[in-house]
């Protein structure tokens, strides 16, 4: 899953180009959506027991928009579910074995297999909602834990309603060990499991370990059996195919599927086929269509197959054609709820691919496949999936940056995210040290990292880091510090109008009106920060424990190193690298609020603490002179102002250090820090009260690690420098966490900067923009989304000038703040930008 910005679709409509009739047809057909003859929408499957549960809401606890629909989803999936005749021994098996068998039965024997005209890859339907496969006793226990009076669902809702944020054990969001499947095939996975099973002593064999390995063994045969169904279909279709070219293709597809993904891949076509089938079954196994199930460095692990096939005479364009089919398949994840829109999850599923980046010893790994894939993206876009993230570093070649900048220019906004290696890897090294896993992440392999979803850095094939599982509003601690540990207001449920009096939820840190120094206020804030983190950790434990007990994913476990070795499902902490990420939301709003308290109450004595509290409680009404002081005169993070950025650093250190102290009890996952924010910074702005930085309730919070809206008045370089400093900055002697860089956030942080399209107006300016990216690699953060200002933005600025005070327009050597140039000239600027966009 992704930040709303990081993965937002582009407004301006770039057109696809250079598509063959085959790809053009597939693309158009895909866009017909629900009007297609068949599609990949969810089908639901039940054991047929009266108590059966088909929908697991745990994975949606981080999507508050879906809370009101849980009951509907739960009942409608159950009602729509088709019954599967069970194996006679089904109820004698462990939950993991039942689940492995059930998912495989549905995928291989129940769901139809289909091939679209011209398609070069098989693997069509995979969105399923399957029975949790629980018996009556298990269901009762699970439902009590989930839906009881003190169940997880209520606790999740309370946490969100009161402005803390959200938390839940979430599916997806990892990079499975796809490379191993290409190299060794599922056969090797299966044989390894068999050997491990044989090696268990009889007690273990009959216990949980044996059950887990047997479940995984069942799952490891699912791809072979499904591939053979598709192979039969290819062969049947080929037999009736009059066109000799298409016939040959179908025959070859059949031969491919007779080999992969059971056997190692030999050709590029086989490798991509194996990759797709292996990947789509992850989504089937988790009943979770796509979010964050990421591919890692495909231009690296597909390269040997690409080179081999090119050498054997594969036409380069045909290789791209195979990739384009892969692109179309990835988009069918969106079919999950094709009839009702985007299924309430997100408009950006984030099946992320990673391109380029550093190799051993700082070597650049850009290769001919990197460029072929960039061409595919360029020719296919706008298209939503898979999402690309291009890794840059100090030795990235000019040729790559040229292509990147060219694509940003032609898309009027970046068609990919840019990840920055040195800063990212410094964070991974911190993670290794903090969690004591330096044998798994070290200088010799840290370059193998790749981002998940959008920008969440993890290792590959042995890592589940729960990158979106906890989203905590740091600002909540400011509210609590200002009110001695209590919410500002009683809570009123917006639907039931039920009222809940504000209680002493947080620790008593004292009435701030009695604080004589700023440091006293800071101490209260720090104490409340520790409290909200503990609260989040406690909440997460509850959904994590339920998932661990009832919702195994044995197929995913086959693809993650550590699960077979420990004979432990990934949902129980089987992965070698076993983290869950606390994503801090509202960072800049929090920093700016603390800066404002210090500036207004202590440094400048513009008001008393009581005045400030009253102003916040009245949502600034009646405090019209105080609010602009808070908004415009108090210092702000994001301007490369060392004093203000020092506050950012202090806030960052506090919450990160606290986060590292925690772990889950049920699954022994360590908490690690990150900054993503997805769309919460928009919606939670309606829950959290007014903040001391001058923000009113009902307006946006800050996004991820970005400065607050409109605060970055010193431009992109200052903005980037502040972000780099907040992450820890650089080490003067070149040591630091990695290659001279510090980084407190192993997960990484989402950063967006908006530019005017004219920054790319000619070759000279493109060179300057390339240099900016190289400078960003040195001074900036872990990941950058480049946005281009468009006419809509200027129109919005015209209507809401207070939100756009830093919006600078520049005409060859001349700057003006857009909001101050007067209506007529604004209109002209808008017309100009709209016109040039055409």
């Amino acid at each position: 899953m992704s930040t709303a910005q990081a993965c937002v679709a582009q407004k301006r409509l770039k057109q696809p180009k250079n598509l063959s009739p085959r790809i053009e047809w597939l693309r158009r057909y895909y866009l017909e959506g629900a009007a297609r003859r068949w599609n990949n929408e969810f089908t639901a499957w039940t054991t047929g027991t009266p108590w059966d549960e088909v929908f697991d809401e745990t994975t949606f606890y981080i999507v508050p928009e879906t809370y009101p629909f849980f009951q509907t989803f739960r009942s409608s999936f159950r009602q729509a579910a088709r019954k599967v005749d069970l194996h006679p021994d089904f109820w004698t098996w462990s939950i993991a074995e039942r689940r492995a068998w059930f998912v495989k039965e549905v995928m291989v024997n129940r769901l139809p297999q289909e091939i679209l005209p011209g398609d070069l890859l098989c693997g069509a339907r995979f969105n399923i909602q399957t029975s949790l496969c629980l018996d009556e006793r298990e269901t009762k226990r699970r439902n009590r834990l989930m839906f009881g009076k003190s169940g997880v669902r209520r606790a999740v809702k309370w946490f969100h309603d009161h402005g803390y944020g959200n938390s839940g054990a979430t599916s997806g969001h990892l990079i499975p060990g796809y490379e191993r499947i290409l190299k060794e095939g599922f056969k090797a996975v299966h044989d390894d499991l068999e050997a491990r099973l044989q090696a268990l002593d009889p007690r273990e064999h009959n216990g949980e370990k044996g059950a887990q390995l047997r479940a995984m063994k069942i799952a490891s045969t699912m791809p072979r059996e499904l591939a053979s169904r598709y192979a039969e279909l290819c062969e049947r279709t080929a037999a009736g195919e009059p066109d000799p070219v298409r016939k040959a293709e179908l025959e070859q597809m059949g031969r491919n599927l007779r080999r992969v993904p059971w056997e190692p891949a030999g050709t590029f076509w086989e490798a991509v086929q194996a990759l797709w089938l292996t990947h789509m079954l992850v989504m089937s196994d988790e009943n979770y269509p796509g979010p964050g199930v990421s591919f890692g460095r495909i231009d690296q692990y597909l390269l040997p197959y690409w080179r081999a096939s090119i050498e054997q005479g594969m036409d380069r364009e045909f290789g791209k054609e195979i990739l384009k089919c892969f692109w179309v398949h990835a988009n069918t994840a969106y079919d999950a709820m094709v009839r009702i829109g985007n299924n309430g999850i997100t408009a950006g599923y984030g099946q992320l691919i990673t391109l380029s980046g550093m190799g051993q010893g700082g070597r650049d790994m850009t290769n001919e496949l990197t460029f072929a894939i960039l061409e595919v993206i360029d020719e296919m876009s706008p298209i939503l999936e898979p999402k690309p993230n291009v890794r840059l570093h100090r030795n990235s070649p000019d040729e790559l940056l040229d292509k990147v900048v060219e694509m940003i220019a032609s898309s009027q906004g970046s068609p990919f995210l840019l990840n920055f290696d040195e800063r990212s890897m410094a964070g991974m090294m911190v993670e290794a040290r903090k969690a004591g896993v330096t044998h798994l992440i070290h200088e010799g392999n840290v370059h193998e990292y790749a981002p998940v979803g959008c920008l969440e850095n993890t290792m590959v094939g042995n890592d589940r880091s729960g990158t979106v599982d906890n989203n905590l509003n740091l600002l909540k601690a400011v509210e609590l510090a200002l009110n001695d540990g209590r919410d500002f207001f009683d809570f009123v449920d917006p639907i039931t109008l039920e009222k809940e009096k504000a209680r002493q939820d947080g620790p008593r840190t004292g009435d701030p009106r009695t604080f004589r120094t700023w440091e006293q206020f800071w101490d209260a804030y720090a104490e409340q920060t520790r409290y909200i983190i503990r609260r989040c950790v406690d909440l997460y434990e509850r959904s994590e424990a339920v998932r661990a007990e009832f919702c195994p994913t044995p197929y995913v476990s086959c693809l993650v190193k550590g699960c077979a070795e420990k004979a432990l499902d990934i949902t129980r902490g089987g992965a070698e690298l076993n983290f869950t990420t606390l994503e801090a939301v509202t960072f800049a709003t929090t920093v700016d609020s603390l800066l404002a308290v210090k500036y207004l109450v202590y440094d400048r004595k513009e008001c008393t603490m009581d005045d400030l509290i009253q102003a916040l409680k009245s949502n600034w009404e009646g405090y019209e002179a105080l609010r602009p002081k808070a908004r415009y005169k108090a210092p702000k993070y994001g301007r490369d102002d060392d004093e203000a950025d020092a506050m950012a650093d202090r806030v960052m250190e506090l919450w990160c250090e606290e986060t590292w102290k925690h772990g889950t009890v049920s699954t022994k996952r360590r908490f690690r820090p990150g900054m993503l924010s997805w769309n919460y910074w928009v919606s939670d702005g309606f829950i959290l009260p007014a903040s001391p930085d001058g923000r009113a309730k009902g307006t946006f919070l800050s996004n991820a690690i970005c400065p607050s809206n409109g605060a970055d008045i010193n431009g992109p370089t200052a903005n980037a420098n502040s972000v780099g400093k907040a992450l820890g900055g650089l080490c003067p002697d070149g040591s630091g966490d990695y290659l001279g860089y510090y980084n407190r956030l192993p997960n990484g942080a989402s950063h967006t900067i908006s530019f005017n399209p004219s920054i790319l107006k000619d070759p000279e300016h493109k060179e300057k923009f390339k240099a900016f990216l190289r400078g960003y690699a040195h001074n900036g953060g872990t990941c950058l989304q480049v946005n281009m200002i468009d006419a809509d933005t200027l129109r919005d600025a015209q209507e809401h000038p207070e939100d756009y005070r830093s919006l600078l327009v520049r005409i060859t050597g001349y700057n003006a703040y857009f909001t101050s140039v007067g209506r007529e000239l604004q209109d002209e600027l808008i017309a100009r930008l709209s016109h040039e966009a055409l």
Binding site: P757, K768, A771, L807, L808, Y814
Partner: protein, 354 residues
């Protein structure tokens, strides 16, 4: 943060060797010389060009201006002003410039920064520290720091100290000058200047005087001296000439042709680039904020055809056509017959709402 000596009154900045009166620092400037630059706009200018798009840079005093869109109408400023220079009116805040002493008590008092100072006194070290924050971007782009204005040579000691310090730090420097300065000052700055952005606006001396307040004799003389100094020191092409094309003023093909001849005859070998910059009108609100009636307020932007004629005149004037560039906004011409427009006359937008 720079030391902001906000209580300083509006004294002349020239001759002050320890502090400079700076209008603002523009970071990530992509239009003031090669690469990514930080441009330091000096306050104070010996010229008063009718079309000046930075009118707030002309005066060598700290000035106050009022931004309507920010004002919340609390009138704290009016109550604070001891000189009674501020009076609200139906058309907005009226600032009596004769009474205003530049004490900036009003900008301090204003809660919403609707009243702002034009001009901040910087100590040299603070200014250097500020611009060096972008050193890595300079290095990656072969950019650096540009001294612009206003006119940097009006604060010669400060400009010299700044350039020398930047050179000592290994930073690429550019001097953007109108040329109306003593050769003594210019010649001292040149050794610390990597590239000179030199404005040549008008060849006709009478028109030059009418448009800018001074004739062009010293400017043309300095241009030749700069060029010969650069040539002598083996730094060819390190002079970039800039010409504003102002409709009804400098935007005449005969002017452009003559400028070109002058460049060819007197500056050859030294000039690496000749920028023709079209008129822009975005500064109207600044004149309004300063209480100045701008005679060019109603002038339209240049049309494509006219701009092309200027470009052709420049390229045909005998200079190497490859050095001539046209930049700046043009009149928006939509409709079928409109010639194809250059993309993106609108420049960098920084910050903004995400």
């Amino acid at each position: 943060m720079p030391m902001r000596n906000v209580t300083t009154t509006g004294t002349s900045a020239a001759g002050n060797s320890t502090q400079g009166l700076i209008l603002r620092i523009q970071r990530m400037s992509t239009e003031d010389g090669p690469g990514i630059r930080s441009t330091v706009f000096f306050k104070g200018c010996p010229l008063a060009c009718r079309w000046c798009h930075n009118p707030e840079s002309i005066s060598s005093k700290v000035q106050v201006h009022w931004v309507a869109s920010r004002c919340i109408g609390c009138l704290e400023c009016v109550r604070t002003c001891r000189s009674h220079a501020l009076s609200p009116s139906a058309g907005g805040m009226v600032i009596d410039r004769d009474r205003c002493t530049g004490c900036l008590a009003c900008t301090e008092a204003c809660p919403s920064t609707a009243l702002e100072a034009y001009g901040v006194r910087y100590r040299l070290d603070d200014l250097v520290n500020e611009v060096l924050k972008d050193r890595v971007y300079f290095e990656r782009s072969s950019g650096g720091v540009t001294l612009s204005g206003g006119e940097p040579t009006l604060q010669p000691e400060f400009a010299l100290a700044l350039l020398a310090k930047l050179k000592a730090e290994g930073v690429h420097t550019a001097l953007d000058t109108c040329g109306q300065a003593s050769w003594e000052v210019l010649s001292r700055l040149l050794p610390f200047t990597d590239i000179v952005l030199f404005d040549l606006k008008e060849m006709d001396p009478d028109r030059h005087k009418a448009f800018t307040g001074v004739t062009n004799s010293l400017i043309l003389e300095n241009a030749q001296r700069v060029a010969s100094s650069l040539r002598k020191n083996g730094r060819p092409s390190k002079m970039w000439v800039r010409t504003p094309l102002i409709p009804g003023h400098t935007a005449r093909t005969d002017n452009v042709t003559e400028l070109g001849s002058f460049i060819r005859r007197n500056l050859s070998g030294a000039v690496g680039r000749w920028d023709l910059c079209t008129f822009n009108n975005l500064c109207l609100h600044k004149y309004q904020g300063l209480g100045i009636d701008w005679p060019l307020g109603g002038v339209e932007l240049m049309g494509r055809a006219e701009a092309d004629a200027m470009l052709e005149a420049a390229r045909g004037s005998g200079v190497d056509p490859g050095i001539v560039r046209l930049s700046g906004p043009l009149r928006l011409e939509t409709g079928r017959d409109a010639p194809e427009r250059p993309r993106a006359a609108l420049g960098v937008v920084q910050g903004g709402k995400r």
